[in-house]
Amino acid sequence: MLFAIWDTTRLHIFATVSRDDLQPVEPAQIRILLGDLSDDALLPTAAEESTLAVNVPGLGVLNVGALRFDPAEAIDLLTSLPISLPSSCSDSVRVWQVLARLVQNALAHQQFYPSLRYQDGTYTAVWQPLIGGRSEVEKLQRFALAIPAVCRALPGLQETPPMRLVESFLTETTDALIRRAVVTDSFFSRVHERPAPIDVRWLSALLGQNRQVQADPAELVKLYDDVHLWLGPITDTSEWTNFRLGFRLREPQDGSDLWPVDFRLVSEETDPLTMVTATELWRQKPSPLTSLGRTIAERQEQFLSELRRAMEYFPSLERALLAERPTGIELSAPEAFAFMRSWAFALEDAGFHVDLPDWASPQDSELSLRLSIAPLNAPDDADDDGWETGFSSNPGTGHLLSTPGNVGLDALVRFDWRIAIGDQHLTLVEFESLVSQQSPLVKFKDRWVQIDLEAARKAQEMMTRSSRGLMTLGDAFRVAYGLSGEEGVPVGGLTGADWIGHLIDQIPDARLQEIPQPDSFAGELRPYQLRGLQWLAYLDRLGLGACLADDMGLGKTIQFISLLLMERHGNVPERVQPGPTLVFAPASVLGNWMRELQRFAPSLKVMSHHGPARLHGHAFAEAARAHDVVLTGYALAHRDIEDFRQLVWHRLALDEAQKVKNPSAAASVAIRSIPARRRVALTGTPIENHLSELWSIMETLNPGLLGSPTQFRQRFVIPVEKMNDHRRGQLLREMIKPFVLRRTKSDPEVAANLPQKMEMRVFTSLTPEQAAMYERITAEMLNSVENASGIRRRGLILAGLTRLKQVCDHPALLTDNKNTDSRSGKAERLIDMLEEVLEENEAALVFTQYREMGHLLQEMIRRRLNHDPLFLHGGIQVKERDAMINEFQKDGSQHRIFILSLRAGGLGLNLTAANHVFHYDRWWNPAVEAQATDRAHRIGQDKIVQVHKFVSIGTVEERIDKLLADKTALAENIVTSGDQWLTNLSTDDLKRYLALSSEAVEESTYES
């Protein structure tokens, strides 16, 4: 049997007769045995012989003949042996073989580094392998402990820790292999010159046969420090910098009143977290001789240094630092309360790790007052909790006819204050008992709770004054969420009975839940869209304003359209047929609204109020009354306010409602002054993230709900936006939940009903400038082709067509004026939609045929969205292209918009990070567009892909899009010949396809 021993500088192989008979065999026999196993039979043949004194338990010291290998030869031999060693090799051979392969792999993957050692007054240059971080080093330590005792059976090795033996093998072999690899080339001679700078002399010592670095002692000390400073990122990372100082607060134990906080080191790079307690850290004994020893000493020193840093955020730590080797601290109840309430957050913000007991989350353990409200006619609920009587707070008990019609926020409701800890209600006796203990942390029914004593006192006072009575629904919301009432009272939200419970839980009552899709709706609502319709109808019925805030692409417009149809074509008596709905929308989407209404609700009478010929005064009022829907732009809200105020509208609707984000803007003020019985807002932006927008939209929908701007700012804006108070943010979300319905594509109820790829047209209007240019180009083109023929005629048509497409994209493509804002309906719409994409933390591809258009979009996105998009076009080199793709695809990329020219980016790329694909202009070949779309919609895509195809209304783009959709023979021709088919048309036919229709252009002012 073969055995291997590493003596810290060389490898020795010896053999015994068998596993059971440990009589040694002659070196000649070892050469034969090894020669049979090795792929390089010359190695053992050439090896030198040695004699070892092996201490065998039970047999004593045996002198055995062996073969001796230098470090590099040892690697050669061990890696030339089969990976699955035969039974004639003992585990000692396997040990060094495993490490040899580790070294070889480390070197092959550039995992080695030059270092400088200091020992016994000498500085030596040495190459070392980089095995990895903490977990790899831990594995190596476990490996070292597992090596058989024979590996340490030589005199002097028995006292050597196995890890040091392993480390010496790794370092010596790595160093030897690298020196051998470079010796044949002229590396050494290039740096071995004198006089040379100290770092070059270090290199020289790394490459030649003499490891010692010769220099002035002061220079060597500086070099040593410089080298280790430089190596810090790799040597420290594996040992220390992944760790953070952590604090764990525990509950008092064994009758103690004190709360222990343990100190420890936490690495968050592993899952589960790796932790080392301070006790374990102090137990490690640093040795001055080894690198591991230095690391332990540094770690302990850094631990103390971090503790001192933490003292700034955790004042009680001062006590702990009195100990030489601190491992923790005990806190009084007030200190523990302060730790949970504020110190812990300050420590986390400063980069420390904090663990609190599970119950320490305030919403689970904090005492709060909850307002319970119920309709006036709700039945009383017998109450035995000490609060006299109350009423049922179970929304499930609401009955079908209990939902009143059009109650609004002014409806009177009964209220009743309740004290709660988390979700658990307290009786008066329990409450008073807790407060009487005068401690911020007390046990209640076997769980710890937190009591802010000052807030509890105020709560007690308020309860004494007014524990129940009547108030309006609007007041109930404001009081329950702290927008009116007393300062410092710990209000914690609202619970409701009967229909109010339905409202809070966003569950329409039973009758409204049965509303089917209206018969006159020309399409099919998805289940979540039907639920959206039911919810809109429910809030409508209650007289409350609703904000439908579904993700972009989920069909907010059609849910709203179906509401209009439902109220007109259900079993509604003629005498109560609703009046007109006034819809405000950005100019860039008015055309889209018209198209959607025509497509899904052809029975609705729609009036478009825009342009210089729009009606005013009595004529406007008369015309509006004769229609179901009046569409207009935000730009006219202020300008035509007198016209709008002539009617009491059945409903006022705001599309892209985030456009009224400035509550003081003239348009916002004007819209709020328009009389309407019902109000609805549509927005794809998560409005709870933009609090001024939220207030402005809510003030339009439900005036007064969120209090005055000052109250709202004090209660929510400052805590949430300036102080990052998550709890206050959560409270606000709870407050607005009854009025805001938001579903995202990832919601299970939505995702289950969506295809993996959703294609939709985005109809955009031309600005007056675009329309004028379009008409001029068309006229010039028709005029020039009139008298031309053959190739020249074709050329003129194709050139004209390109210019028409470009003017639909952006007038700046054809003029010297390179200003980009508010000149293109398409571009404005794209910017709005990309803003929503970024808001949702999603990613998009934008395809265009024109490189210059890509540059314009790149500039607009940078300036208006403060985002740096990538742009791939034909002029980009392959290397740069690959870098762009890698950048876009990597997790957490800062580039979430990728503009691509269709020719450069339409094929072969994998861009699955994107889940939106915008076709800014059209290729008119569905196959080409589909190939481009497939950059995102392909294997590896785990999200629903939304494809947005932009079409300019009333232009050649829309006519050809319609032809393609109809799948006629002509459509086939378009697909196969591209633009060429147009060149064969007569001038009259050409005019029919190209002429601009009157609906193409919208109001001239675009909102910013």
Binding site: M1, D39, D40, T79, S80, P82, S84, S90, D91, S92, R94, V95, V98, L99, L102, Q104, N105, A106, L107, A108, H109, Q110, Q111, F112, Y113, P114, L130, I131, G132, E136, K139, L140, R142, F143, L145, A146, I147, P148, A149, V150, P161, P162, M163, I178, A181, V182, D185, F187, V191, P197, D199, V200, L203, L223, D226, L229, W230, L231, P233, I234
Partner: protein, 74 residues
């Protein structure tokens, strides 16, 4: 070092002898890439450039080592 953890068997290794079997370096960024430029660079000598050449050479040697991609013993 604890005697409880140390393998005392003379011939056979402990079970943790396999613990390094799944250790891999593939995909890790090269050491020079992680270290970045050395701040003690000498004038007129490209320290990092030279070192990178050494690294490339060593990697090349290792990859061409006859036993680098050894398969199982037949």
């Amino acid at each position: 070092m604890s005697d409880n953890e140390l393998n005392l068997d003379f011939i056979d290794a402990g079970i943790d002898i396999s613990v390094l079997d799944d250790l891999t370096f593939a995909g890790k960024p090269g050491v020079l890439e992680r270290l970045g430029p050395a701040h003690f660079r000498s004038k007129g000598f490209s320290f990092m450039g030279f070192l990178q050449t050494v690294y490339d050479h060593v990697v090349d040697q290792m990859m061409n080592s006859p036993f680098h991609h050894r398969k199982e013993f037949p």
